[in-house]
Symmetry: none
Subunit: 114 residues, 10 copies
């Protein structure tokens, strides 16, 4: 996986909401090797660090040739972003295009236990 870079939250004394929408996510199905497509939404309240956008883009792109389940990828993105940026709260949603006539939406959340 590409490295998620951060920069110092320029306003850590304040709880404010950061929301990124990435409609060009693609990975591979771990069973068939076929490409999957979807939109990843990330909504969080930073603590000391903000997620840097270009590294986030490269991080999401690094799934391009990975075989990974929908349920796994949404939780892994959440875990990696929590690990890199230590937010106060974060929610990740994956909305995937139809496969076999079915489409899927996965949603996972994290809250810092102070």
């Amino acid at each position: 996986m590409a490295n998620i870079e951060t920069f110092d939250n320029p306003h850590p004394q304040r709880d404010y909401v950061i929301h990124h929408v990435a409609p060009e996510f693609t990975s591979l199905c771990p069973r068939t090797g076929q490409p999957d497509f979807g939109t990843i939404e990330i909504e969080y309240i930073a603590d000391k660090l903000c997620v840097e956008l270009k590294s986030l883009k490269l991080y999401l792109q690094s799934y391009r040739n990975e075989g990974v389940f929908y349920e796994d990828v949404v939780n892994r993105i959440l875990d990696d972003l929590v690990c890199a940026s230590r937010p106060r709260r974060m929610k990740v949603t994956g909305k995937f295009t139809p496969r076999g006539g079915m489409n899927s939406i996965i949603t996972a959340e994290y809250t810092h236990q102070g």
Copy 2:
């Protein structure tokens, strides 16, 4: 009925929401033998197991030549998915296209009694 396969929930320590939408469901009317059509929606929180998508597709396809009432099929899908994957919570909705000028929506829910 086709077998519903599962895989280990990659993130069982977290309550997160999995939502599948299958707009190509078809079965047969138990009275007339005529085909019925509808959309099946499945929304759940996994415990130890996730429902595998390809087997879910094949499971739903196995109703293609079955005669079954709307009220029955929605509850049977819920029962079979609960039995196979033992979720923390699950809701199944069937939205069926008009027959005799009438359309029907059936909704059933399950909550694990810990």
Copy 3:
């Protein structure tokens, strides 16, 4: 009136919601004999019996040449369906097309007093 048939609720141990929408309802005005048109919506939780759809269609069609007030027909449908299927809860709504430049919506509900 045509007979409302029922079949055994295949999953009586569960409270689940059944919703039928019938947009092709027609009856006659009891004053003028002119046809009235509207949509009948039926939403219920079955107890031991489910309403069979074909007989429901025929039951609703049997108002085709009946003279009946809007207020009456919605309550009679509710009474007849409650009588035939003994549901836990049921709501009937009639949305009628304009007559004399006015359109009407009538809503009636039943809850079983256990």
Copy 4:
């Protein structure tokens, strides 16, 4: 004013909702004599009597050549309908088209004090 006729509520033992929408209301401005236009909505729960629709249409039409303020007409309709049908609850709303570049909405309610 035309007479508001009623008929016996066919189901007085039940609280159910009757909603009439009359988009073709017209009266005259009491200052200028110019025609005003609007939609009158009537929503009520009947007690022993229902408002008969044809007489309601004729009653609303009888304002056609009357000079009357918006605020007055909505309250008068409410008073006359309450007087004629003795409902358990009733709400009347008048939504009037622009005059002098301004449009107006007036809403009045009645609840029977048992």
Copy 5:
């Protein structure tokens, strides 16, 4: 009928389009005496004269208590406006609200034969 007044076309050397929309037209049905409602649209290219708006409003209001067929009223409005303002071209459309479950649109056009 009220008089249709005109004023001199300030730019007669140019063919330009004038379009008036009057959504508050009402007259009476010549058979039943019941009120009819509709929108009158007038679109024209003036020659030497323009139709004055306040007199147009009063002219359309003068049908308020007239019994007149839809087909007649649209053509009469066209004839009266052509007679008063001698346009190069004019189209009048009447879009009437439903009566007996049917709604009607009538369109008539005039072109000056130079």
Copy 6:
């Protein structure tokens, strides 16, 4: 069939368009006896006679308990209206609601051969 009445075209010297839309048409299927529903649109240019609206409503209502194919009813309405009113041109369209999961649109036209 109910009689189609006419009245003298008040403006026979002009070709203008009359368009009626009747969304509450219902007849019976000649095979099953089940009710069919649809919208009938009639668009014509009158010659000496116009179709009277109340008789048109009653004429369309007279199909209520008739068994008739879609293809037949659209052409019969056209034939009967042409016979009664001798228009310069007429088009009849029937847009029918789904039966057996299929919906149908039938369009027939007449032009007077002067």
Copy 7:
């Protein structure tokens, strides 16, 4: 400023809602002298007096050549209407069109302290 006239509330014993929308408000910018445009909404419950519509129109028109800040005009309208009509409650909203690429919405409320 033009005078705001009132008339006796015809139904003072009842709390009912009066809502006027005036989309044609215009005043001048106090800095640049350029015209500003917006919609003024007034919603109130009358006590003994209702605001007369024609005088309200003229009152709003009297800002046409006044230089006044958005924040000021909304509050002044509220103050003047409260002073003239002594309502039980009143809310005034000004929604202004873009200036310098920015648009503004100002909202102020009054409640009578009995």
Copy 8:
């Protein structure tokens, strides 16, 4: 394949348009055996025979368990309908739901060579 029944065109002297839309078409992929779904549209001008709707429904249903390419099925439906009903003109369109992230539309036409 089920038999396509016809009935005598009740108005063969007139060229009129018959348009059927069947959104519940399903067949099997000839490569994978997986179900395909789509909408079939049929638009034609009958000569001596009309296609009977119930047999058309059953004919389209008879593809339910057939393995057939999109390109083939649209042309076969056209051929079978032309063979059974000998129309003056006919067009068949198949709009299929996505498979492998791609959706397909196939259109074929026939004109009788008199």
Copy 9:
């Protein structure tokens, strides 16, 4: 940065809401120097001072050639406006157009601690 000017709140005794929407914001990416675009929304309740609109426009324009993170700019606008106008409450939202296939929304709020 350009100076944010203020003027005396003309109605400081009242809590009312001021909402400005600036859809033409542009700054530079601090990493790449490329231009960023977005909409800035400012919603506040003034205390003794209101933000003057022309100076606000010039202030927002002064970011045109500044390299600044999304997270920073939203908080800096909030800080600068709070510092200049000392509001009772204020919220700033930045909605930025896609970069690298991702779009971002940042929201920050301030409440005066009396």
Copy 10:
């Protein structure tokens, strides 16, 4: 590149239109190595051969890790499909998502010179 497979056109005697829409196309930018995303539309009239859908999907997927200009990829797809299936006519359109705030549409066509 993956091989484009074909199958015998089942109805070569007829000119009919085949239209495939592939909204999940992705390749790499030849300058930056960053992923590009777009929709590829293919519309053709087959001669002796039809393009097989699964191989078309795999062919389009084989651009996933290729660096290629928009202008090049659309023409190469057209060339490869023409070469493999020898159609009578074919058009390929690429509609690409925004890069640097700009989005692009490329269209190329082929006609067989008989």
